[in-house]
Amino acid sequence: MTHSAEDRRVLLASQPPYLHPPYVSSKKRAPARPLVALPSALASFKGPVFGQDSLQPGDCDLTKQHSGEPLGERIIVIGKVTDDDGHPVRGALIEIWQANAAGRYKHKNDSHAAPLDPNFSGCGRVITDNEGRYSFVSIKPGAYPWRNHENAWRPAHIHFSLFGAGILSRLVTQMYFPNDPLLPFDPIYNSIPDESARQRLVSQFDWATTQPEHALGYRFDVILRGNRSTPMENTRP
């Protein structure tokens, strides 16, 4: 598959650079030397295959993992995973993790002075169906502070990890919520150069998915690189 120069430009602008100085911890961790081109296709096998049997009951409903209901605004997140040719990605494992409604992660290194919720762990897993669709139930995560810069707060987000057709399709990203006033201040969200690519990380409120007296619906579609895409040439480090 060949890419035009314009394709490559758009592809590059859709992905963040390794070094993004406003995200302070990238400075000591981003590769400093130029990346080396791989002469041959990646040898990796097609990637791990995950069946429905690799999920536990409750993996797709983060509000049902404990004896009580978690605090917060209940949400249903749905979406479709396709490849860069528009084909659905079937059987894709999606791993999700998030803070609770107060903006606190159930993690030993999270020192934010907000309460843990005994009824919320913040971990979920789903597998896409034959049309590439997924859905899970959760609560809307809270914003949380971090020490990146003065008065730094992360906009509410859900972390997504996805497996597609192989190693090139592997993606870890974050889903944001519409109209979040913190987005313009967030160096992580703003690390993606292209504005329309950035906006695709923001889920959309979905009336059709919203359930009366139960939960608000959000839609978050994901496009994975096909496993035969050419590498991102001239990638800056």
């Binding site: 650079p17 961790r29 590769p31 081109a37 002469p39 993606l171 990203t173 690519a197």
Partner: protein
Amino acid sequence: MKFIPTGSQTVGPFFSIGLDTLCQQPAMSPSPDAVLVQGTIFDGENAPIPDAVFEFWSDNEFVRAATNEDGNFFAVLKQPVNSLYFDVLIFMRGLMRPVLTRVYLGDERTFKEETSLQRVPPERRNTLCARAGETKNHFSWDVHMQGDRETVFFEF
């Protein structure tokens, strides 16, 4: 390519909540046909990185291993069938997208003919080679994100 892929974002510091289920248990001991690869990953100031996660991809296996508080990782791997190396994705707080590297088990002289090493400057090839350890199936491989010993990372 008709559609632009979704942008990558960092795994952040708390990825273990979501990624632990698929992590290999570090206490596993290698069976006779497997190897143990262990090492430490360092940042640009030579400090170990305690919040990184490695994914080893080969033609017959996928293994995920996260670093511990000292930046050490342990991965029990089956020898690849059709290649001499593992493709390795490394995710961490501070990286907006994973880096891709390769690890060869053994001395770089063994892999002189390997095409993926030919474009790597000779003086940096050793960063992709895991040293054989005390026991037969034991290799050690350190990763440096920056500095004189910066590991080779590939475009992908």
